[in-house]
Each structure stands twice: as C-alpha cells, then as structure tokens.
Amino acid sequence: MEKLRKAQLLQGNQACAIAALEAGVRFFGGYPITPSTEIAEHMAAELPKLGGKFIQMEDEIGGMGAVLGAALTGTKAMTATSGPGFSLKQENIGFAAMTEIPCVIVNVQRMGPSTGGPTAPAQGDVMQARWGTHGDHPIIAVSPASVLEAYELTVKAINFSEKLRTPVIILLDETIGHMREKVELPAIETLELYERKRPSTPAEKYLPYETDETGIPEMADFGTGYRWHVTGLNHDETGFPTGKTDVIEKQLMRLLTKVEKYQEEITLYKTYKIEDAEYLFITFGGTVRPAMEAVEILRKEGMKIGLFQLQTIWPFPEEIVQEYCKDKKTIFVPEMNMGQIRGEIKKVVDNKEKLVGINKINGEIITPQEIVSKVKEVANKC
C-alpha cells in the first residue's frame, strides 16, 4: 500500500509550494499576484531553511528571467503567477522552450481578460498556455483538480521539465489554489524524482545540443567548466547561432517532436464511472469536481454517464480522447471559459454534433446543478 503522511488541512497553493520544495526546487523568482501569492509567500519562508533562494523581482518578466538564470546553474527553479503576469512572462517562456531550460511556471488562473476578476475562478488561460509565446514551440501543461493533485502534479511537472528540458506549466485555478482540504500526502521517501542529465562527456567534447536517441541533450551546470553558450537565436548542436536552413530545421524539429516522443509518459488522466457510460464528461481542473457530483446526480436518475479528467492538457492527448469519445452518445465539456478545451476535442471527435459545451464565465465556479440541468436540456432533445 502507498505510504501516506498524516492527514492535514492544506491549501492548493500551499500544496503546490510544498511539492516543489520536496521535489527539489531550490529557487523561486516571482512577483506577487492574486490568487497565486501564497505560493511565493510559502517559498519566501521555507527556501532559506533549505539553503534555497527566493527573490521577489521587479516584475514578472524579471521573475521569469531570474528563474532561467538560476536553472542554468543546475538548480531546479520555479515561478508562480496569474493571468496578467502569465502574459508578461510569455517572451521568456519562449526563450526557455527554445534553449531547453527546465523550469516550472504555475499559473493560478483568475478571471480575464485583462485585470478581470482577480479573485474570481476561471479557466480562461488554457489556450494561452499552449500558444502564448510567439513561434511554434513545445510546451507541457498539467491541471490539478484537488489539493492532493496540486501536490502530485507539481512533482510530476518538475520531473517532466527536468527530463524533457522544457518549460512546464501548472494550470491551477483560483478554486483549487485557494481551496483548503484534507489531504494525506505521500511519504517523502516514496517520491520518484528526476534530475536533468548532466554531461557524460568532458568539457572539450561537450556539444550542448547534441542528442542521442532520447532526443534530449545533456545539460552542463554553469560554473563547472563546460563554457557553453546559450542563445534564443536559431542554433546548431554547438549552441551557437546558425543561419543554415537544414540545421535550423533539424534542431527545431527535434525541439517540437521531443515532447510528442514522450507523450505517453506525460499524458496523465483519470476516469470516473466510465465503464458502462453512454454519455461522457470531459473536463479538467476546477470543473472536475462539480462534474463528478453531476455524474452522481445523473446516475441516480438513471443516466449512464462517466467522466474523463484531463490532468495533462498539453500536449493534448488526441488519441486517447478520441478513443474515449468514440462510442458515446454525447460528450459534455464543462469549462469555466468559452470552450477552449472543447475546441481541441472538436478536432478529434468523429461527430461534432455530439459535442456539447457547458460554459460559465461569470466569476463563480460552475455548480453540479448547472451542469445537470444543461445535460438534461440536451439529453431531452436527443
């Protein structure tokens, strides 16, 4: 049986911060913003105790920059923010993607656009997490639906970032970030942690962007004599800029496919009462639990409905979702946005008519009752 710690009351943001520390994060660079600030505050209090560093930078751009600088020294590094700050970080997130610097960015989503509703729950940054920076680029994003998942997925996120050398985004939402609930964390010694691969070659032979079949280059810590060069320009295996079209293409294709390559390992999801389901919810993050409650209610009324929870949102698990959608009568997608995940499902579902969004954007969490009544409205039409 899984070894667990004693039950305790934890907030989602706190759980995320605790997980980060336990997974080895030793640098946090950030800028306060509701509803993510508790993460920074926890880090400010705990990092120095562990010999780690916290810095409140002058803005989110600086926070992201500092995180990347720290990561290059071999330190696991993280930042946390919300919508407006997430927008500001995008340029440097792209730099991380391009230069393959492991890092984790927590976005505790609040209502947008713009300043919107700083303390209102929403899930409006799903597409931005994928496409917020310019140019084609790899990205991983996970989204927890409980305080425990906030812990678990943060550990995973850090592992993914280290293993794939890529920025990983944790899409919390205000609901989960600010919620406190009973959790029994896994015992620390049961955590599986991953560290980026350090060079297996001596400095003279080190080619920072050369890869074997793993597709992931080895990474030297700054200050250990490898004297390598990091640039956001198109670069070759040596890390230096290049204008050679074939080299550019090769590097970029590796960059873009490396995440796909590990998609199976990265793709995390859960199902709920799905075995006999004729109808399906597909959802993620803060809308999962009201939807689960809706499953309960609807099942009591005799409707065979189940739920598919995306924990990994990006890369979008097209094949799995397609598989689960295949024989369902209707697929309902509850989201606290106007249908961002629904758009992705639309790409893979065999019959678009079967796809129904349940959307709410008024600054309050969607309720089981709202979900149920929408389902009934549609199901009765069928």
Partner: protein, 273 residues
Amino acid sequence: MLKDIEKLLRQDKMPHIWCPGCGNGIVMKAMLEAINSTGIDTKKTVVVSGIGCSSRATGYMNFDTLHTTHGRALAFATGVKLAKPELNVFVVTGDGDGSAIGGNHLIHAARRNIDINVVMFNNNIYGMTGGQYSPLTPHGKFATTAPYGNFDRAFNICDLVKGAGATFIGRGTVFHTKVLTEMIKGAIENKGFSFVEAVSICPISYGRRNKMGTAPQMMEWLKENSVPVKAASKLPPEKVAGKILVGELYKEEAPEFTQKYDELIARFQKGAE
C-alpha cells in the same frame, strides 16, 4: 595584451560579425583584459547579455555565456548570481538593451546591490536594428526614427544608476582603452553592483547618419571630447560642459545582496545544528 587574452576568446568563432570599425570588439577586449588581469577563475565566470550588436559579445567570450532576450540580461544574471553566488557574473548590454527596454532591471539590480558587473556598450544608437534612437542618443542627433533630429533628452546613465543605488560606477571609451580596462577591473573588485559605461563607436548605424566620418575620425572625436574625471574638477566649467567624463565616477561600501541572503541561510543552518 592580446596574446594573454587569446585563451579567453572563442577563436573558432572569429572573425566576429561586427562591422568594420565597430567599437564593440575594443570593449570586449577591455573586458577580457580586466578579467585576465584580476585572475578570477574563468571556469566560474558567467557572462550574460541581452539582444543587440553589443550583446553578441557573449558568443565570442570563452566562459559560460548566456545570450538572453532583449533587455533581460540583468534579470537572468540575477538568477545566476543568487543561485550560485560563488560565480563571477558579468552583464554585457547595449544602450538600448540596458537603458531602454532593460532600464527597470538595471535600476533594480543596482538597488539590490547584487554583485554583478555590468558593462554597457554605449554607441548612442540601436545598432542591430539599423539605427533608431536610444535613450542615450544625444538630443538633436539623427536616427532612422528621428529623421528631424532627436527631441528626446538622453539619460546621463551613470547618474541614473547612482540614483538607483549602484556602488561602483565608472566610464571609459573605446579610445581610452586603459581607463576602460581599469574601470572594469574596479567593477570586478567591488563586491556589489558595478556599472561601467563603455562609450563606443558605431560608424555604420550612428556615425554615418550623423556625419561623424570614418572609424578613426570617430576615435579622434572621442579623444577630443573626453575629460578624465580627476582632471575635470580642476578645469574651468566651460571646458568640461558637454564633455564625456572618463574614470571612476562613484564608489561606496554597502552590504551585498547575495551575501545577506547567505547569512540568512547560515542562521538557519546554525539553528539546525
């Protein structure tokens, strides 16, 4: 001397991409000279730059080097230094990179007195993008985006970083290479935030449009328009007005940021024992 610093140069990347007569190579050389002469551990030295002609210097310097996004070198460098305070951290930045888009990181790094040595390659222009005015383009000068003469006022960038809290400030030029090297040495020796303005020449994107002649002519201009700061105090004001003051402009003792942080950590570690 060139032969002493060749090992600090990535010879295989040379010749560099800078235009004929561009001052960037001279500033970079002064940096390498200073680094070499202070004898700091070059394996434990990191140079961080932003984007611009000048910021390409990191590609030629044989350390761990980091060519970041435009204006953000100091933010990245702050992360490097704080995460691993035993590293010697330099920032190479342009007048645009460091004082326009990167101005905020500059003043805040100065405020924190974090031990980073900033060398600003000031060619008074955005060189890389072909000659737009920068916050250090003098009033009245021409640029592609100032076709009628610049009517922005320029920063006195050394005054600005002083107001922000820098603890070592010096200025040299690509003509006054010895002073420049000395200033960078001073920066290295200062345990805190150090700023060196390296007044440079950009014959292509600045000089040409402002009819300043060839590279040697621009050198000549620098020579004639600069005054050592020590001499300046003894000269009549009219001899100093409008001149570039070279030399050490400011120095102060103050607690350094990463050191303070390490003291906090040490406090906890003691507590734990």
